[in-house]
């Protein structure tokens, strides 16, 4: 049984929290005491009906305002898969929170209100899903009960969504008519929409193949820590601890260390102090090399014949996340990429992208909270990267404010 991480995106009243509540409820993942707590809270808010949305709103201010502000994680399982659901706020002022949630997701569920069809936030959420390279997107057209469960209404929205999707990079798209409130086509097939013959939402979640999404070709390994026990029996032991970002590494593989360009051969791969044959994507292992070369945290071990780009000049899409300061050409930050950190300066803002209309805006002087733009950075040290859309793990970076130490930007290197 494997693990699927998915994000749900929708605006305040698209019924996103209700949808998660419904998934948990119909897969019998809500426990008795949690249900009692929801019942108690629902009564105190005078809504009368049990509000499944209360399951995910964890902070006091969220419950008070009845909205989701920060990303919340929920865990559930079916006999076929374990799920981590990432509930992200949909309002434009929380775009950075959605980007945060989307960064780790294998799949995105984008909610559309059947009464309103494709609206501004649908466009925004879809752009974020596409930009963050989420391989699978489910568009759940919700509240179908409020449009008489009409097939025509569904087809019309599906058509306009498809037109939008054609402008984006969405590899695998499924559009499903649902009613989260009534549980139609979430876990159980709807009797109210017999015209719909496709999969239910849960069925897609259970069956989507995430193994194929990973980059299995390009051997990339960022060194996190050097293990040197320095005991009598392990006097000369030097193991490079890290996680395989992409590709596979085997004993005997020829490798190159970046940015120093030194070459060597893998002597041994270990896990928990025991030798293993090979290490594949996302495994946390320790690599030992045949040659005694200088390697430390921040260096990259890569396949000899398959190298990333090594450069101090980087172009990236950035989502700006600081609500206190803007980003301007000339500003300096710390860029964290893999385990490497380097000072960098902003050379230029090439253009900003209107996240609602997808229009490019030239001659932008600065970026404010939630703005998305293409920028040019110059780093103090060379960075060994792959384009984000080809390799999510080695194409992602964050910008850190040097004085406040806050994470202020999410970069997808192009």
């Amino acid at each position: 049984m494997d693990l699927l991480r998915f994000i749900t995106a929708g605006s305040v009243d698209d019924g996103k929290s209700t949808l998660i509540g419904r998934l948990l409820y119909d897969t019998k993942n809500i426990l008795a005491d949690q249900m009692e707590a929801i019942e108690r809270a629902s009564k105190s808010r005078n809504t009368g009906e049990i509000d499944l949305a209360l399951l995910t709103d964890g902070l006091r201010s969220e419950r008070e305002q009845g909205i989701t502000i920060d990303v919340a994680y929920k865990y559930f399982q079916t006999p076929n898969r374990k799920f981590i659901s990432i509930d992200a706020p949909g309002h434009i002022q929380y775009t950075r929170n959605m980007v945060t949630g989307a960064s780790n997701a294998d799949l995105a569920i984008i909610l559309v209100d059947a009464r309103h069809g494709v609206v501004e936030q649908t466009r925004r959420h879809s752009l974020i899903a596409s930009m963050l390279g989420i391989p699978h997107v489910i568009v759940a057209i919700n509240k179908m009960d409020l449009v008489g469960n009409s097939e025509d209404a569904f087809l019309e929205i599906a058509k306009s969504y498809q037109e939008l999707a054609n402008k984006l990079n969405i590899k695998d798209l499924t559009i499903i008519p649902v009613s989260a409130l009534n549980g139609d086509n979430i876990v159980d097939r709807s009797a109210n929409m017999s015209w719909y013959t496709g999969e239910t939402l849960l069925s897609v979640l259970e069956n989507v193949n995430v193994l194929k999404d990973q980059n299995q070709e390009d051997g990339r390994f960022a060194v996190q820590y050097v293990i040197r026990p320095q005991t009598d029996e392990l006097h000369d032991y030097r193991g490079y601890a890290g996680r395989v970002q992409s590709g596979t590494f085997k004993k005997g593989d020829l490798i190159k260390v970046l940015p120093s360009e030194q070459e060597s051969k893998i002597a041994k791969i270990e896990f928990g102090g025991n030798e293993i044959e090979e290490a594949s994507v996302l495994e946390s292992v320790t690599i030992l090399l045949e040659d005694d070369i200088d390697i430390s945290r921040g260096d990259n071990i890569v396949s000899l014949n398959n190298s990333p780009i090594v450069s101090q000049d980087i172009e990236a899409l950035v989502c700006w996340m600081d609500d206190r300061k803007t980003l301007k050409p000339g500003d300096k930050y710390v860029l964290q990429h893999g385990t490497a950190r380097s000072r960098c300066s902003v050379r230029d803002i090439e253009y900003q992208i209107d996240i609602n209309s997808y229009e490019k805006m030239d001659e932008v002087e600065s970026l404010k909270l939630n703005d998305v733009a293409r920028i040019i950075l110059r780093t103090a040290q060379p960075i060994a990267y792959d384009p984000y859309q080809k390799n999510r793990a080695n194409g992602a970076a964050i910008l850190i404010d040097e004085t406040s130490n806050v994470t202020v930007g999410a970069c997808m290197i192009e």
């Binding site: 494997d2 709103d57 865990y75 964290q336």
Partner: protein
């Protein structure tokens, strides 16, 4: 020092990865980020199942070397003796440095006022001792075993959770946490609480302990015990819990589902004597871990959120 390897986990890694392997790899990655990014980290260790899991993950992360940071326990003086003994034995067995600081000492030194009455607990006072310990050793990162599935405020917390110089968590100003790029940059006096098993559920922890063949303190398994029956919950019959005329003293076959401070941890009736039986019981349980056993969360809807804002875990 090498760890007994698990055949199943090695062969599974070549096929579609198993969720436990995925969770383990993520937690090891986080442990190594702590060692790589901080100068003086510590692992908070209580002898409970979640921190036992953390120790195992830290061993695997740094093998064949030792864990490159101390184990730290804030002892309320109201802990289960079985957990305390386990703590001391494990630290010795793996050759880890163990730091223990006592809430009792903080109470005396600072003249803190303890809660009184029948539900009095030192749980909240742990925060003072913890913050003092962080200051004493200048710890810049503290690794804890909190999980997001435990409680709704925890479900919102980052894996690298920034705390100001007063140890406070500000849920409205959390750093965005993107991909696996953890930002542990801080200024002197500030620290980061790190939760490597954020994405594990209670059942995942039990399944992992079983897969790894780890022995647990005996109180996790069914045994006969004299207990206080109070408001439908079974508390250990100990002098540290102030008795109340309405209390009933009973003897039951129980196990503990969480092992915290005795004053706020309830037992569950059970006949599960092995890890398999415990896992089977939890799989069909209809009540959450904290709902069943933690008295401290049930006082208000935001009890945990409020404690965390004050510096608690």
């Amino acid at each position: 020092m090498s760890l007994p390897i698990n055949e199943a986990s090695v062969s599974a890694a070549k096929k579609a990865p198993d969720y436990l392997d995925q969770l383990e790899a993520e937690a090891i990655y986080i442990m190594r980020e702590v060692a790589g990014q901080f100068e003086r980290p510590a692992l908070l260790f209580s002898g409970g199942k979640d921190s036992i899991t953390l120790v195992r993950l830290a061993q695997k992360a740094f093998a064949p070397g030792k864990i490159p940071f101390p184990l730290v326990h804030v002892d309320t003086g109201h802990n289960f003796i079985e957990a305390i003994n386990y703590r001391d034995e494990l630290a010795e067995k793996i050759g880890a440095k163990l730091v223990v600081r006592y809430v009792e000492d903080t109470i005396k030194a600072k003249g803190l006022k303890e809660q009184t009455g029948k539900n009095a607990s030192r749980n909240w006072l742990q925060t003072f001792t913890l913050l003092d310990t962080i200051e004493e050793f200048e710890f810049d990162a503290c690794i804890g075993g909190a999980r997001r599935d435990e409680e709704k405020a925890r479900a919102k917390e980052r894996i690298f959770s920034f705390r100001d110089e007063f140890g406070q968590w500000d849920p409205k100003r959390q750093r965005p946490e993107l991909w696996n790029l953890f930002n542990g940059r801080i200024q002197k006096g500030e620290n980061v609480r790190v939760f490597p098993i954020s994405n594990w559920t209670e059942l995942d922890v039990w399944a992992y302990l079983k897969r790894e063949g780890i022995t647990l303190p005996s109180i996790y398994f069914a045994h006969e015990r004299e207990l206080i029956l109070r408001d439908g919950k079974l508390l250990n019959n100990t002098p540290v819990i102030e008795s109340d005329p309405e209390d009933q003293i009973v003897t039951r076959q129980v196990r503990f589902r969480t092992v915290g401070d005795m004053t706020c941890t309830a037992a569950v009736e059970s006949s599960a004597a092995t890890l398999d039986e415990v896992i089977a019981e939890i799989s069909i349980s209809r009540i959450s871990e904290r709902g069943e056993t933690r008295i401290d969360d049930q006082q208000t809807e935001a009890a945990m959120e409020d404690r965390k804002k004050g510096g608690y875990f």
